[in-house]
């Protein structure tokens, strides 16, 4: 498990490999201690300022007080590193220990469960409340049926005045008709 946690921290795991170490962090005190220790080592090596010893406990206590709203995934999931989920990881390392568990649980879920991104259970007293924002839309692939709408839409777009027919290529693009390249 230690090797997996190390790989997780280094961002070396593939999406399907993430579940095991992440759920271990939520359940297994030893795994979580390893996670903390590794972060401490990494902070020390890179000369980052260390936070007070009970910082994590206080952050967890504050989290217990205020429910976290997990909103819909950002629209541009293709570039997760620019998404709003980047913000927690920019926090100081110890605070991030809690936030990162949540963030990393969200990141690989973009395709499998877009409606509500689950958060790995935070350690001990923190009760992380989940609430889906209303009307959080599911992300769907483009289908052959979508092509009909694209053609109908493109025919009525004023952009044609500047660019002629070129934008029509979207409506007959191979991607809007997957499976039949």
């Amino acid at each position: 498990m230690k090797a997996k946690i190390s790989a997780l921290m280094d961002g070396e795991l593939d999406a399907h490999e993430l579940n095991e170490p992440l759920s271990a962090l939520g359940k297994d005190a030893e795994a979580f201690e390893t996670w903390r220790t590794y972060h401490l080592i990494s902070d020390a090596l890179q000369g980052r300022a260390l936070l007070a010893n009970d910082c994590l406990r206080r952050v967890v206590a504050r989290l217990a007080d205020e429910p976290i709203l997990i909103g819909p995934l950002p629209a541009d999931v293709a570039r997760p590193e620019r998404g709003r989920w980047f913000v927690p990881s920019a926090l100081a390392a110890s605070i991030a220990a809690v936030a990162l568990v949540g963030w990393m649980a969200i990141a690989p879920q973009q395709n499998s469960s877009p409606m509500l991104a689950p958060v790995a259970k935070a350690p001990q007293p923190a009760q992380v409340a989940l609430r889906a924002a209303p009307q959080a839309p599911v992300r769907l692939p483009m289908t052959a049926a979508t092509r009909d709408y694209l053609i109908a839409h493109q025919a009525l777009s004023p952009r044609n005045s500047l660019q002629g027919m070129a934008p029509f290529v979207r409506s007959v693009s191979a991607e809007s008709h997957p499976g039949k390249p």
Binding site: A75, D76, A78, R79, R82, P114, Q135, P137, V138, R139, L140, P141, M142, T143, A145, T146, D148, Y149, L150, I151, A152, H153, A155, L156, S157, P158, R159, N160, S161, L162, Q163, G164, M165, A166, P167, F168, V169, R170, S171, V172, S173, A174, E175, S176, H177, K180, P181
Partner: protein
């Protein structure tokens, strides 16, 4: 402190001054418009979106009544689209289908008219960019930077002599390119009518759009165009696929357009897919309202497409 504030202020003012719409840039948009309307040309362009590229040939014959234009996709199956003054025909060989969108009144195809170009300055900062050589043509860049998050921005490169658009990029609020059209080869001038001949399609299935004007508010439907700058430009009834009547309303700020389609909920559980999908700069949002399927398609950020879709309401009268 004062100095920092002063420097910040200076930076803000400088940035603001730099982004002001200039009459010269608006003139360039009109020049591009005239070139699109007046020139005959044939050329090859590449459409790029994400890590996908697709090469197509475009041929245009200018002439009285709007001329004629043909788009041929050169990669994969040879899909073709032919446009004349009052008709768009889409040839899809894999399904052996011709989709025909015919208008009795050609004015039913909305256009950005030269006199409307000034109106774009209300929602975009239209500025001059740098000169760059593209496909052998010395081009002038014109940049349309949106003033809010409701629409995308555009970078256009037009031939300095003719005004012909050689390259177009759509970019999001971070300046990231969402998609790009770029000519790799272009010949302006004589185009023989032969090149605009429709492909062979004997025995193919023909789908007629059967477009007719419509007034949806009369049947209880309302879409409140609360999105600043987007106003309704067309409202029609048409067929989509086979014999499936659909209402279509188009909202536009003059350049970006969003279509709202409303149709009876199709049968079958798998037919109704509620959510959002996207390709390049186009977002498609689907939801259900009063047992009808609402599909919103637009070259606008997902949030805008969704906002328009979420205002669709049905109040039986």
């Amino acid at each position: 402190m004062t100095r920092t504030l002063g420097a910040l202020l200076l930076l803000t003012v400088a940035g603001w001054a730099q982004a002001q719409t200039t009459p010269e840039a608006l003139d360039w948009l009109r020049k591009i418009y005239r070139a699109t309307e007046k020139l005959s040309y044939t050329g090859t362009f590449v459409y790029q979106q994400g890590d996908r590229t697709e090469t197509s040939r475009i041929t245009r014959l200018a002439g009285a009544g709007g001329g004629a234009e043909k788009l041929e996709v050169l990669d994969g199956t040879p899909r073709e689209i032919l446009r004349t003054r009052d008709e768009i025909r889409c040839y899809l060989p894999e399904s052996r289908t011709v989709k025909v969108d015919r208008r009795s009144d050609p004015r039913a195809f909305p256009a950005l008219l030269p006199e409307q170009v000034d109106g774009l300055a209300e929602y975009y900062e239209v500025t001059m960019g740098e000169m760059r050589r593209i496909a052998g043509f010395m081009c002038q860049a014109i940049v349309l930077t949106p003033k809010d998050d409701l629409r995308y921005g555009y970078r256009l490169w037009a031939d300095a002599r003719s005004g012909m658009l050689l390259k177009a990029q759509t970019f999001d609020r971070d300046g990231q390119t969402m998609e790009q059209f770029s000519f790799t080869h272009l010949e302006i001038g004589n185009v023989s009518r032969e090149r605009l001949r429709p492909p062979r399609a004997e025995g193919w299935h023909v789908e007629q759009a059967g477009v007719a004007p419509a007034d949806l508010s009369r049947s209880g439907w309302s879409v409140s165009a609360e999105l600043p700058g987007f106003r309704k430009i067309v409202e029609i009834r048409r067929m989509l696929r086979d014999a499936q009547p659909v209402a279509q309303m188009v909202y536009s700020d003059g350049l970006a357009a969003v279509s709202v389609f409303i149709e009876p909920m199709p049968g079958g559980a798998e037919a109704a897919r509620i959510g959002i999908s996207s390709m390049g700069a186009v977002n498609v949002y689907t939801r259900e309202v009063a047992n009808h399927l609402v599909t919103v398609v637009g070259e606008a950020p997902a949030a805008s497409v969704q906002r328009i879709g979420n205002t669709v309401e049905y109040r039986p009268q």
